[in-house]
């Protein structure tokens, strides 16, 4: 299930392709409805800014003041755009 939350000009990449410390914006996701709703409730909303705190299983990202742990299978399903390319 694809959730398109924004269509920036840069090509989106999988979150797991980026390095620790990268600042990105959420582009889309193909997670199940319930899993994506939970991410939204945690703050991963439309074009929100994420910082990759830790790469690898689990991935840890920070959205505003919330640190979120993501299993690798979830992180692979998040498409992001590096912030520097916007």
């Amino acid at each position: 299930m694809i959730h398109d939350v924004s269509i920036p000009a840069a090509s989106p990449v999988q979150l797991t392709e980026l390095a620790e410390g990268s600042a990105v914006r959420l582009h889309s996701s193909d997670l199940q409805e319930d899993d994506f709703a939970l991410l939204e409730a945690l703050g991963m909303t439309r074009s929100c800014r994420l910082r990759i705190c830790k790469a690898g299983d689990p991935w840890i990202v920070q959205v505003r003041e919330t640190r979120i742990g993501l299993a690798a299978s979830v992180a692979r399903r998040l498409l992001v755009v590096p912030d520097s390319l916007l």
Partner: protein, 672 residues
């Protein structure tokens, strides 16, 4: 309509409903990890009851407190990120706030984490849409100020349209002001904050509304952006590292396991000794008869069998609360998720499974940590396969029989029992997730809360609450079952066999202190105990069922032992003591007694405990569901006897099947 949410009896020290001016219902709402439980404990203390939300297995805590002249009934709702999510907790909160299954609250107190306002405010937006009046409790203001945040609470209240009360719940600061704000809000029926409220409906999304609320009323260096906490970053790197994280996890779990196993054994031994003394005292003061037997063996024995679990339950939840409060548990769940997900289990399952090595009851109770219902059910179903402490006396007894002169082999067999149990649990979980609870374990998405010092007060209150809850619900059913099992094992009474009477007469004719007289008396006691056991209802059932167990090497005596141990595993050892030694208190570590038991014969002259039989018994005890108390708790936690029945059937079938293979294979190999 009567509801589990409405406490039916007045709590001690608080005026009963109807005798004070009014009783208002307050709902405590908030994201997880905002200090909601801490606030509840500060407001209501030990004056709370735990029950289920109607039609669910989600627990509700209900307490009472005073706000000025007003008596409040406080309902602690589950922590939720959004009311609109499809998760069970969100549904429960919505139903409770709208009064669908119970009386709607007069007011919601929304506990906000001051360090993470942008996300926490979204619940207030949803409450506004639902038309539920609210007071905002801005908690953890000290942590927020440490991060450079400042709050214009007047402006914040104006924009939110409700009173805002800053709090430090873990220190109890701000509670008086909160009570005054609640009382004022309830009396006036209106927010009375004035100013220009920002209506969430006027914004494209709740997030835009939250941003505007914060922009005008929260200042400081990191008002809207992210703050970088270096210590948290470093700790997360360590605790979730594939190698270092696993080592830390091992150390923490070893400490927890040691505490549960070793520390809890002190009060448990004390409880057993106390009830034993009570039983002996009762025997000494009461005349012999049915009433004394019922009191000593049924009631006192039954209560002892329930109360003895309390130290482990209390200690486990005390430690879980501490670990959870520190923030470490969320990180540990990810460490274990890598392994457990291969077997269809979530990372959260590690703690219940590990705790089940002490006792499956607190292990099953701690599955409440698992958010997904399918994951939780799977964990509950397999938890009893982990070798618990009640199995230890049986393992020691049987490995001692199997490897009498080779203690190192006995040790390996003992360890093998633990490996067999854990392996069976993981494989059963894998099969379960491919069959009756089809589907992979939910991939882990978890908020990682800030690290902080745990609250001892919260941990103690949780331990007390869980212990009392166990006594109230599971305890009553377990007590009833204990009484039934006692009656089956004790009745009908039968006259002592002629052979025993003859032996006693011979002993009476000898000098009192002679060894021969003592030996004759012992043999008479053995015959009487065996006769009584064989002729009891339990014994008759054992004889009738013996053909079922013969293919796995059990005679009627072992069958009686296995059947009675369905009440509790450790009963097997005392039953064998009675049947083979005539004394339930026989020291089965004594080599002389073990030698006699090893030499015990059936009526056809064959040994009772051959190597094949002992091995088969060992395998049976590793895998069988032989704890009615656990079944009762499974029913309580799953909300249905169906899951408890499934647990009993699959574990008994697994135990029987593998015991059959073990016995027949050893028999075929010529191992006697």
């Amino acid at each position: 309509m009567a509801s589990a949410l409405i406490s039916s009896a007045p709590l001690p020290g608080v005026p009963a409903a109807g005798s004070e001016p009014s009783l208002y219902r307050i709902a405590l709402l908030g994201n997880p990890n905002t200090g909601k439980t801490t606030l509840f404990n500060r407001l209501c203390g030990v004056l709370s009851k735990t029950s289920n939300f109607p039609g669910t297995t989600t627990r509700a805590r209900i307490g009472r407190c005073q706000a000025g002249e007003l008596a409040l009934e406080v309902v602690d709702l589950p922590g939720v990120y959004r009311l609109s999510l499809g998760l069970p907790e969100s549904r429960v909160c919505r139903a409770a706030l709208l009064g669908e299954d119970s009386r709607a609250p007069d007011l919601a107190v929304v506990v906000l984490d001051a360090t993470n306002l942008s996300r926490n405010l979204l619940l207030l937006a949803e409450l506004s849409e639902m038309g539920v009046p609210a007071v905002a409790a801005l908690n953890m203001v000290d942590l927020a100020q440490q991060r450079g945040l400042s709050f214009d609470r007047v402006r914040l209240a104006e924009r939110l349209g409700c009173p805002v009360v800053p709090l430090i719940a873990r220190r109890g600061e701000g509670l008086d002001e909160l009570r005054r704000a609640i009382a004022a809000r309830l009396r006036s029926g209106a927010a009375a904050v004035g100013g220009e409220r920002l209506d969430p409906a006027a914004f494209p999304s709740p997030d835009d509304w939250a941003e505007q609320v914060i922009a005008g009323s929260v200042g400081g260096r990191n008002a809207l952006g992210s703050s970088f906490d270096t210590l948290t970053e470093r700790l997360d790197q360590a605790f979730t590292h594939p190698v270092l994280g696993a080592l830390v996890f091992l150390a923490v779990m070893t400490g927890l396991f040691w505490t549960l196993f070793v520390l809890a054994s002190v009060p448990m031994d004390l409880i057993e000794a106390t009830f034993e003394h009570l039983g002996r005292w009762t025997v000494a003061v009461m005349p012999p008869g049915a009433v004394r037997d019922l009191l000593v063996q049924g009631v006192i024995g039954g209560i002892a069998g329930i109360v003895v679990f309390l130290p482990q339950i209390g200690l486990l939840f005390f430690l879980i609360s501490l670990l959870e409060d520190t923030g470490y548990l969320a990180r540990a769940a990810f460490v274990m998720d890598r392994i457990l997900c291969r077997f269809g289990l979530p990372g959260h399952a590690f703690l219940p499974l590990l705790s089940s090595h002490a006792c499956a009851i607190p292990g099953i109770l701690s599955t409440r940590l698992i958010p997904d219902r399918q994951d939780r059910l799977t964990t509950i179903l397999v938890a009893p396969l982990m070798s618990c402490s009640a199995r230890v006396p049986v393992y020691v007894f049987l490995t001692g029989l199997l490897f009498a002169d080779r203690p190192w082999l006995a040790g390996i067999a003992f360890s093998g029992c633990y490996v067999l149990g854990a392996g069976a649990a993981l494989l059963t979980a894998a099969v379960t997730r491919r069959t009756i609870l089809k589907g992979p374990s939910r991939p882990m998405v978890l908020e990682l809360p800030s690290y902080k010092m745990p609250s001892l007060r919260n941990a103690c209150l949780l331990a007390l609450d869980q212990g009392l809850s166990f006594l109230r619900t599971a305890g009553t059913v377990i007590m009833a079952i204990c009484l039934v099992m006692w009656w089956l094992s004790s009745y009908p009474h039968s006259a002592p066999p002629a052979a025993a009477t003859a032996l006693r007469q011979q002993a009476a004719a000898l000098p009192e202190a002679s060894e021969r007289a003592a030996e004759l008396t012992r043999q008479a006691g053995l015959l009487e105990a065996q006769h009584a056991q064989a002729n009891s209802f339990a014994g008759r059932i054992g004889r009738a069922v013996e053909p079922v167990f013969r293919p796995i090497g059990f005679d009627w005596q072992l069958t009686v032992g296995v059947l009675t141990s369905f009440l509790a595993r450790e009963v097997f050892v005392s039953t064998m003591s009675v049947l083979l030694e005539g004394d339930p208190e026989s020291d089965l570590q004594d080599q002389g007694i073990l030698a006699r038991i090893r030499a015990a014969r059936r009526t056809d002259g064959t040994p009772v405990f051959t190597a094949a039989t002992s091995a088969s018994l060992l395998v049976f005890f590793v895998l069988a569901m032989q704890c009615l108390s656990t079944l009762v708790v499974t029913r309580r936690e799953t909300g249905s006897w169906r899951w408890a029945a499934l647990q009993l059937v699959y574990m008994t079938s697994l135990a029987y099947g593998l015991a059959f293979v073990t016995y027949q294979a050893l028999h075929l190999l010529g191992v006697a």
